[in-house]
């Protein structure tokens, strides 16, 4: 690495010294993190310092001094002006709807999930940006996901994307070479994403692709699986929920303005600030499968684990996926304009997750790969049908993904993150299992038909998948 940071202290993180920094300062951003000081693999101390700043930003309540509010911009992910400020700066439906990231992500600990009361109302923010209704024709109501293990999830998605795009590249090259169509199976880490057919002229038939966007980018975040990276999600959420606009999307280059939201504060979130938030989230330790107290629960959990496989839950909720590297590049390789990209820096920063204490406990396979116990497949599935439609309760497609299609929920941490379902409106694991339709329907039916003891055991098992603060 070009530049390891040996002494990245909190002081080294700070630029913008003109900002107020008194202890009683009512704000979170008394200093900005200098992105230029972040490149190469950060050593343990530097990573710790950066994550500490990230946590401060995650839990801090943003104030007008920081730039909270977006009176002349909407919540849209593409910078979008509004003609006049909304009547209320804070508004539960269209936002601003939170003072801090931790306002919603807090169960069972900071960075966790949220109760029903923390639901977010997802709309594109282009038209009807000021919707004041919970009617699903205006927005999709979603629960707040937990972020524990998010760094590992993103690393898995990056490796899977690389696999899929390599398959595409090879199929295209082969089709050009042989002069006839080549069909290739899209598979990564044992997850099947259908097939592609490459034509000799470089055209691609994507009609048989399944569970991933047509650009073959695994977008692992959000209930819908439409966010590429922690960085992208962070930039989106800062604007949506807090009106804190990151320069890498809302700054001079892409809007022509330093105060795009017109709240009087310029360059509200620096690239370095976002990096700190990313580093903190990426380094959150993954949930674990704990050994429950009492022999009875232990026995039930063992039986439930077997039932989990017997019912076919593991077809989508894969127990683990293998991960080759724990080096988390920030920015990552897949972000597009508007989220900082690696090509915009001399060298990205690398957060070596192996430096974090929790990484020692991760299981590995015979190849030395980390087995990330996510209980998911990072693939989208149809999750509702005519008869079982509870999870098909949205009206709006999101970013080209149809209303009944969602990313397989990772079950790690399920024991700590009730309620369930993408609307957070199913209080128990039993209810959310009964709600599986569509591609989850066969397993759901088997669950319904299973003996009471098996169903109970399954719940006993799932409740051992917890977040340990």
């Amino acid at each position: 690495m070009k530049r390891a940071l040996l002494a990245l202290t909190a002081a080294a993180l700070a630029v913008g010294s003109t900002l107020a920094a008194e202890p009683w300062h009512e704000g979170v951003i008394s200093r900005h993190v200098d992105q230029d000081a972040l490149s190469g693999t950060l050593d343990k101390a530097a990573l710790k310092a950066l994550r500490k700043r990230g946590e401060e930003l995650f839990v801090g309540h943003f104030t007008p001094a920081d730039g909270v509010g977006r009176p002349f911009a909407t919540q849209a992910i593409v910078p979008t002006k509004r003609k006049r400020p909304p009547e209320n700066a804070f508004f539960r439906s269209a936002g601003l709807d939170a003072n801090a990231c931790a306002g919603c992500h807090n169960l069972p600990a900071t960075g966790g999930a949220g109760d029903f009361v923390t639901n977010v109302f997802v709309s594109e923010g282009f038209e009807s940006a000021d919707f004041d209704s919970l009617d699903p024709q205006f927005s999709n109501e979603r629960g707040s996901n937990h972020l524990f293990g998010a760094g590992l999830i993103e690393l898995l998605a990056r490796e899977m994307t690389a696999d899929l795009q390599r398959i595409r590249r090879e199929a295209l090259a082969e089709a050009r070479r042989v002069g006839s169509a080549v069909t290739a199976k899209l598979e990564s880490k044992g997850v099947d994403f259908g097939t592609i057919t490459a034509e000799p002229d470089g055209m691609l038939d994507l009609s048989a692709v399944a569970g991933v966007d047509h650009d073959l980018v695994i977008r692992p975040f959000s209930q819908k699986g439409v966010m590429t990276s922690l960085r992208q999600f962070t930039v989106n959420a800062l604007n949506h929920h807090h009106g804190m606009q990151a320069t890498e999307r809302f700054g001079l280059r892409w809007t022509g303005e330093r105060d795009h939201d017109g709240d009087g504060v310029e360059d509200e979130m620096s690239e370095g600030d976002v990096s700190a938030l990313v580093a903190w989230q990426a380094g959150l330790k993954p949930p674990v499968e704990r050994t429950p107290e009492g022999a009875g629960w232990q026995a039930a959990a063992r039986r439930g684990s077997a039932v989990f496989d017997t019912l076919g839950c593991n077809e989508c909720h894969r127990r683990s996926l293998p991960l080759r590297s724990l080096s988390f590049a920030d920015p990552g390789p897949l972000d597009m304009a508007g989220t900082l990209r690696e090509g915009e820096l001399a060298e990205p920063a690398f957060y070596d997750l192996a430096l974090l204490d929790w990484s020692r406990n991760l299981p590995r396979n015979e190849n030395g790969e980390v087995l990330v116990p996510l209980f998911g497949d990072l693939k989208r599935h149809t999750i509702a049908d005519q008869e079982v439609a509870a999870l098909g309760n949205e009206l709006l497609a999101q970013r080209f993904v149809e209303r009944n299609v969602f990313m397989t929920a990772e079950l790690w941490g399920a024991g700590s993150t009730a309620p369930y379902g993408h609307r957070n409106d199913l209080p128990t694991l039993d209810e959310v299992m009964r709600a599986h339709g569509g591609e989850g329907r066969p397993s759901r039916d088997r669950y319904m038909e299973a003996a009471e003891d098996d169903r109970s055991a399954l719940i006993a098992f799932l409740r051992t998948l917890v977040i340990e603060p």
Binding site: T80, E127, D201, G202, L204, D215, G256, R341
Partner: protein
């Protein structure tokens, strides 16, 4: 007289705020005024016989220029831009890419100098046919790989040498609907239609298409599929009639319209319909200015040679004789040294704006508030948008510029249309800038333009003429070919946005190829609406405009920070497609009636 009013009044009438980047201070403005007064002489007008620019044996001088006409715009010169974002780094690499070619020849080749960009071998990479003037045009096959250095190989066309000589420009289009792009060669003398075949094979098709190429000095071309027609209507714009008494003054050749008749699977262009009067056209464009579904023919004319002429807009209606839009229909009298036409929808209102290059200030026309569906009333917004580009923006030469090819495109993928203008002294005209760098006017968020040509690297001491803006290495960033007079072409590879440590990635983009069954397979005349967020980038599929240069193939649109876009196509017959959902940073092909866009990937 004609020129004085618009030039003099426009800048004074519009107390507009400066475009981003600001303008020079008052001291410079008045210094310019003094310089102009000295230059203009007592009567405010001077002209010069120009040694070396006189056609031998013609016994006269030409290109006389009333200097004073240029002075007023100089007084309000938009200055070089301030700090800009997203300045593309344009790396000139013509020779290393394998292109050694210049546009040369005597005074007949002071104009022209175009190129055609199109795929002639089925790999979807844009190949090039570049006019050579007196020397032969050359075909270069694109061998670039995605994102790599540009690489071209000259390919023998198999055509007769004399066919490729005296070529001033070229436009690609599929005339006979056989799936291979053909070429219209604009020549000094007989124009030639080349029928394209597989693997860049061409054959002369004038006889096959019953096309009489005439013997004019052809400098402009456009084509359009009129409603119900299986084949395109061709328009050729001609310059001076060299054989007319008194030539070159007031002896502009008429232009010509060729409507197809149906042959045995091929068009027959036996009937030449003159577009009279001709006013020495240097660019023409079928354009659906009012989105009526019926393109009309806009022609920009060189006032230097015509007498009593002006800019023209012809009604081109099916089954009817062409007729000029009249003053009573709102068409305003405008006389410029019209050299090139660019069309772009700057404000995404569906109605195109037009840049018209000239000597001195470039015009930028927008429909006026008084315009109506059948009243093409345009107002000039070049000054208020900072797009006059009327003199060099670097160097000490403050004489007026000479603009040729113009093209709107989004070079930095920020979602804002930029404007490229090829510049270059006609030859040795002392009243005009000798060092006259090409313009790269970057669209700004306030609607204006700011000059970035020097920082981008396109400000070379060449005499630009025609140009091609295209993505030659299929990396989503638009590259640039400029055909230079008497010097090697300039081929710029777009490396990304300028930054201290080297180029950085641009914004996101989509590139769209259209296809429909039956005639006009490439959907010339279609409108592509790329919607992302609350913005829409409108692009028209056209054959014509620029300066003697045309492009066929993928249509590019920058989409800034958007990851996705919804693309709708208004097909040439007026039918709107359903929205096609497309991920940004991809090349897609939209086939009419298909449920989804298809993705295409360039060779790695």
């Amino acid at each position: 007289m004609e020129m004085t009013a618009p030039v003099a009044t426009t800048p004074l009438r519009v107390p507009a705020p400066p475009p981003q980047g600001g303008r020079k201070g008052l001291a410079t403005v008045f210094a310019n005024r003094r310089r102009c007064r000295r230059s203009a002489g007592a009567n405010g007008q001077r002209s010069f016989p120009l040694e070396g620019e006189v056609p031998t044996g013609r016994g006269g001088w030409w290109w006389r220029v009333p200097t004073a006409l240029f002075c007023l715009p100089l007084l309000i010169a938009p200055a070089a831009a301030g700090p800009l974002n997203g300045i593309p780094v344009m790396h000139e690499e013509a020779r290393t890419a394998g292109i050694e070619h210049a546009y040369r020849g005597p005074w007949e080749y002071f104009v022209g100098g175009g190129a055609a960009s199109f795929d002639c071998n089925g790999d979807r990479l844009p190949d090039l046919l570049i006019a050579g003037g007196k020397g032969p045009a050359k075909l270069y096959v694109n061998k670039s790989t995605a994102g790599g250095a540009l690489r071209f190989e000259q390919r023998d066309t198999g055509l007769k040498q004399r066919t490729l000589e005296k070529v001033l420009g070229a436009y690609p289009l599929d005339i006979d609907n056989d799936g291979y792009l053909d070429l219209a060669l604009l020549r000094l003398g007989e124009n030639v239609l080349l029928k394209g075949g597989p693997e860049c094979a061409f054959e002369e098709a004038n006889e096959l298409f019953a096309f009489d190429g005439g013997n004019a000095w052809t400098t402009a071309f456009s084509a359009s599929w009129e409603e119900g027609s299986a084949f395109p209507t061709l328009a050729f714009g001609n310059y001076v009639d060299r054989s007319a008494p008194g030539s070159p003054w007031g002896t502009c050749h008429d232009n010509a319209l060729y409507r197809p008749e149906l042959g045995e699977g091929t068009p027959l262009y036996a009937e030449r319909r003159p577009l009279n009067p001709g006013y020495c056209a240097l660019s023409m464009l079928f354009t659906d200015w009012n989105r009526s579904g019926t393109p009309d023919l806009r022609i920009t004319n060189d006032r230097h040679y015509y007498r009593g002429g002006e800019e023209q807009l012809w009604h081109i209606e099916v089954g009817r004789a062409p007729r000029l839009f009249s003053r009573s229909e709102g068409w305003r009298h405008l006389t410029i040294w019209g050299m090139g036409i660019a069309e772009g929808d700057l404000n995404s209102d569906g109605y195109p704006e037009y840049a018209l290059t000239s000597m001195g200030d470039t015009k930028l026309q927008m429909l006026d508030e008084e315009a109506e569906e059948d009243r093409p009333i345009y107002t000039d917004i070049a000054y208020e948008r900072g797009a006059t580009a009327h003199r060099p923006y670097v160097g000490k030469d403050l004489k007026p510029s000479t603009g040729w090819h113009a093209e709107f495109a989004d070079f930095n993928n920020d979602g804002l249309l930029d404007l490229f203008i090829a510049k270059g002294n006609v030859e040795q005209m002392p009243d005009f800038a000798a060092f006259d760098p090409d313009n790269l006017l970057l669209g700004q968020w306030d609607g204006g333009f700011a000059e970035a040509g020097s920082e981008a690297g396109v400000a070379l001491p060449t005499k630009g003429r025609g140009a091609i803006v295209d993505d030659f290495n299929m990396d989503g960033m638009l590259d640039l070919l400029v055909v230079n007079r008497e010097e090697n072409v300039s081929l710029f590879r777009n490396l990304g946005a300028k930054a201290e440590a080297g180029p950085i990635p641009m914004g996101n983009f989509v590139a769209v190829e259209l296809a429909q069954k039956g005639p006009n397979a490439n959907a010339v005349g279609a409108l592509i609406a790329v919607k992302y967020g609350t913005r829409t980038a409108n692009r028209s599929v056209q054959v014509g405009g620029g300066h003697a240069s045309g492009h066929a193939g993928f249509v590019h649109a920058g989409v800034g920070t958007a990851e996705r876009a919804e693309i709708r196509v208004k097909w040439p017959d007026g039918e709107w497609s359903p929205p096609y959902r497309v991920f940004a940073n991809n090349f897609v092909r939209i086939e009419r009636g298909a449920p989804e866009a298809r993705y295409w990937y360039p060779p790695q």
